[in-house]
Symmetry: D2
Subunit: 380 residues, 4 copies
């Protein structure tokens, strides 16, 4: 199922909204930037509406457009299925694609519920034994500054991790008169701020520290409980803000906060990791910067150092521009495509995989269960 | 009991460690800076050790030294009793001084437990009817930038408050080999990070928003559970980090975090207040700056504005230096002395008073109770 | 000479080093992001080495490779010639391409000397009458935050401009033992820090304020005068730092500083514009942010506002990602390609044009003349 | 000439406007904070108006008030004469006080012209042989962060200094309709932005690097040339902005910029020092912070470190509050008083002295001469 020697790896992208556009940009760019990837073909873009998907394929640079993902995922010229649909379709498409022998890249969240996620993990495990890759798109793991953060922690530069703070704040719902929408109904959206953006914060905690969550206490709130609907005020049924404390393997504690009501915070994923020997801080709104405290230098010289993570020696950066020429949000998707292609070519395994996604889903579920149990600890 | 027309108000300061030195600096400075205060005399400094207190009185600029606070607080030439002792002495001294007809300024925390605090409030209420002031020293309320923050919120510039974040992070216990001390034993210290610094964060939430806490969920942790003691490893019996979510009157939620293990954070009281119309952010390590988001200007011009709170039009600043000449941590104590003297002279009442201190104590207690109840909501 | 109705505009890119790669990324991306551009074909990449240019064309996504730019620029299927060669080739290629009826995009600097630049302007003027576009690639004009800055100044939000500060600091030559190279010899490099990066600072001064430079005083320095060469120490014959003051039309003064020796500054183009009603500040290392002071709001609320220039209402941003998803250095090249295509399609004229490049060259020349004349004022 | 064994050193302060108030605060505080200083008496405050100076002496904590400085400086109980008058009186008072055998602290600028300054230096040299101290009040040398900067450079942590940038920006004259005043007339003010604040920038360059200025090129400008006077528009005869480049001993170059028209910059003395091994940055609006680049650590970890200069190990800080409790602008005056008292008591000599002030005056003069000579280099 991998590309034969004489043709490039065929990619099928399903979905062309926000995430589909970002993935398209990555697939269009990856070969031009990285020289350690196998050749690919942007074979087919899949959407429901024939006319719209045809136009999108032309604009975004795909060879063909199609409307039936079931037909596409079994095509011989398709090697990689990249799933950028709404979450409720992830399980069906991913499992079918894996069963059809394809490599799969699935946008986060892995699934809308744990049962689905478990089926996906099973399918991924079976596929792995056949040499297929099942990758989960937690793209922020490929921000160079966060990759560097992970590396510093792995090297022991922070000592023993004591405490983590991770918050993801946005403000697009801060207007209480913003109308009701499908994103604010549990049956369509699955969850609110916790699942949408809190999940990134939690994924980073585990990614950066390398520590599993062993127990949680959580709280959810709907700060604007009703919004204007088509027929008058309507109940918002997902959280618009969430808080949790996570116990990590070994005793460290992480605090999590997610909100869509934090006026003035546009896309602020802020992470601080504190250890016995050092600390790190990061803000997604300044994503080329990592702040590193080396607690072992003389106290008169200690402080957080603003490292501009654009040196050729930093992960991914050799392939881009000279030092000081900053990257943007989108470039991490190119890194993700690159790492996936390298994994498919027999390089290092791609993480996070579906099992990581399931583990994350279980943490999110535990937070919801804890909140429903008046904040009681839920063990994982 | 107030100063007669022909002599200044006599101040007695009890305690001359860190807080006593800061208060001394304020009493020494207040008349030189503010011209709307009655004259004072720095009459007497009280401490347990005759020789040490005599030397301290000389260095810090007090007319006399004394060792028995009971004698001092009944002296006719003493009008104000300023209590900077360890917390366990607050109640006895404050109640006796109030009963002796004196004005009292008591450093935070008000008391070591709620029962004591309630007795203090009763004494303060009785004294108020006699025209005495009983003031609580939550000095950060007098940082000019926070006073300005309060003013903006009072004016409605943030609209309805939705969400608050307040963290107080220090790092002086980050070394796991730092030895055991009285501050780490519950019987001597009362509490750990929560009471020591988390209390400032909670006080600010109530001060800035003007909203009462109605319910809490809390979590405490001792991240380094044993430390080297005189006879081998000893159990730490106070929290070294704490987290809570507070429900505020009207439905807003505040998150609180306090830690003494946040490597590289020296004295970082960071506060963010988010409302429907605007937002504010503050960091005690840059205490002349207030970051204000006006969410009503065109979106292309929105963002947090760094206001350097040093204009003559800002609270307290007219009395100091020209614009741009920044103040330090200590100056807030001078503001506190000024506001107390103005209140004693019949000006606006001093807040926080003992009742505010009791209310804060009840929030702290509730957090501890919640933690002990596995995170369950505790209503106030 | 414009694309016929039935085929896309053919682009020929000459050069594929750093700038060529950045332009390739832009040509590959522009149609996918912007829907107001005519279709293009990435027809041919030109380089001197057949094998290398063929590999580059394949990697960077060009249909063909070629080695003789003279043949390429007269091809019927080529409509746009994009010049990313070393500066000494700009004039020959640009003039020939314009004479061949092609639109031209020329990377900065326009030329290596003023005589060349004048010939290029003449060619561009002749071509303009034939409907051709001759564009100069001062890409930073297309950073969204700087475009927003220009817009605020045009709207009069800063009042009358009094003073500008623009510095471009890098550090890649800070090691005194870094070896001699062609970039450090006047005969090959033309100039040093002034021409290479100071030119960006000066271009921004004129772009942002809309004011012409009327006179200059300048100073150049070679802070490390000799470096290791192949045959022992060799004289560095270009400046590695430069300073100037520029008088602007109407009396404002701009200070300029450029350096390759500013340890720790990786790519720091920092610009401050001060007017009677407001001010602006920008730093290329945080290129999504514009700091705006509105001097007309009450003084208690004044300060620099950090505007994250990622709103759909900001220039270019509607076409990219949702608010808060920051762009990188490379995206400005896509904006440049878009503006060029729009200009070719009859939209607003592209600036800067060759005449702007000549005007800039004259400012650079005047600084060099001033330095040689011991700092005397040189009038333009 | 020094205090006899049985009485404190008597201080006479001449002037009680802005600087006099700041010095009063220092004299009131120094003994309480530092325990290595001899006892002092705040003996007498001198001003021209009897009533006003009496009120000021009472408010600011001086034992007596007087109106004739000539009588005061010869009093036996006066040991130190602190001169905070307008600059044109500095020479007369300082020389007379030195001749009367007193120690002198003179606020900057040393004098209004070089001839005066030379006479003062001569008087100081004669006095030094008698054991008297003649100190110049360039207070910013006593900001702890700048003292730490100096120490790092002295230790060689920056390697060889290549380049310095120092700007002092204020905005209190940005309104073109602000009326004419004595500060804007050359005959009363001596000079404008250059002498007033540019002098601080230049002093820091020499203080931090330890390098003398050997030659300058300068430019002055009056950006608002006429202002409303009592009888219609009046000519401003001092500079309101100034720029210079300074050659330093050994070849480094410093750029200087001073302005009172930089809208939004309240008191921004910003300094950057770049060396072959490291760099430093400082901003007076955040005066507890020093940004230090150690260019010798691995490039992936390099960047400017925000050092909060509040550790007991930092200069002066041991005497103040615990780490993280930031100081304000005024505290540097207390440091200055302490260093003066220590010098008088036989400790390390106080710098800057009058000779340093004369050297600085010569640099300022050279800049003015250079500007008048159309920017020509003036050698020192």
């Amino acid at each position: 199922m991998t590309a034969s020697a004489d043709r490039p790896l065929g990619v099928a992208l399903i979905g062309y909204a926000f995430m589909g556009r970002a993935h398209s940009q990555a697939w269009r760019t990856v070969e031009a930037v990285f020289d350690d990837v196998p050749p690919i073909a942007r074979s087919v873009l899949v959407g429901r509406d024939q006319e719209a998907v045809t136009a999108a394929a032309e604009q975004l640079g795909w060879q063909e457009a199609a409307t039936d993902w079931r037909e596409v995922i079994i095509r011989d010229d398709v090697d990689i299925v990249d799933i950028c649909t709404p979450g409720f379709l992830h399980a069906d498409i991913a499992i079918a694609a894996l069963e059809a022998g394809k490599h799969v890249l699935c946008e986060k969240p892995l699934a809308n519920d744990t049962a689905e996620a478990e089926r996906m993990v099973a399918a991924a495990e079976a596929a792995r034994s056949r040499g297929q890759v099942a990758a989960l798109g937690h793209t922020y793991r490929r921000v160079a500054a966060l990759r560097h953060a992970r590396s510093l922690i792995e090297q022991g530069r922070l000592g023993r991790i004591l405490q983590v703070r991770a918050s993801y704040l946005q403000d697009w719902l801060v207007d209480p008169e913003a109308p009701m929408s499908w994103r604010l109904r549990k049956e369509t959206a699955g969850s609110g701020a916790l699942g949408d953006i809190g999940s990134h914060a939690i994924d980073q905690v585990q990614f950066l520290t390398g520590l599993d969550v062993t127990a949680v206490r959580g709280r959810l709130a709907t700060l604007v409980p009703t919004r204007p609907g088509d027929d008058g005020p309507e109940q918002v049924t997902v959280d618009d803000a969430a808080w949790a404390t996570l116990e990590l393997d070994g005793g460290a504690i992480a605090s999590i906060e997610a909100s869509r009501m934090a006026n003035g915070r546009k896309n602020e994923l802020r992470i601080e990791v504190f250890g016995t020997e050092g600390a790190l801080a990061f803000d997604l709104e300044d994503l080329n910067e990592l702040w590193f405290l080396d607690g072992t230098v003389p106290v008169t010289e200690q402080g957080f150092t603003r490292v501009l993570v654009t040196e050729p020696e930093h992960a991914y950066l050799q392939a881009w521009w000279p030092q000081g020429h900053v990257l943007g949000w989108e470039n991490s998707f190119t890194h993700q495509a690159r790492d996936l292609l390298v994994a498919i070519s027999g390089g290092p395994a791609f993480t996070p995989d579906f099992a990581d996604g399931l583990a994350l889903q279980r943490v999110l579920d535990a937070i919801i269960v804890s909140d429903a149990a008046d904040g009681a600890t839920v063990t994982l």
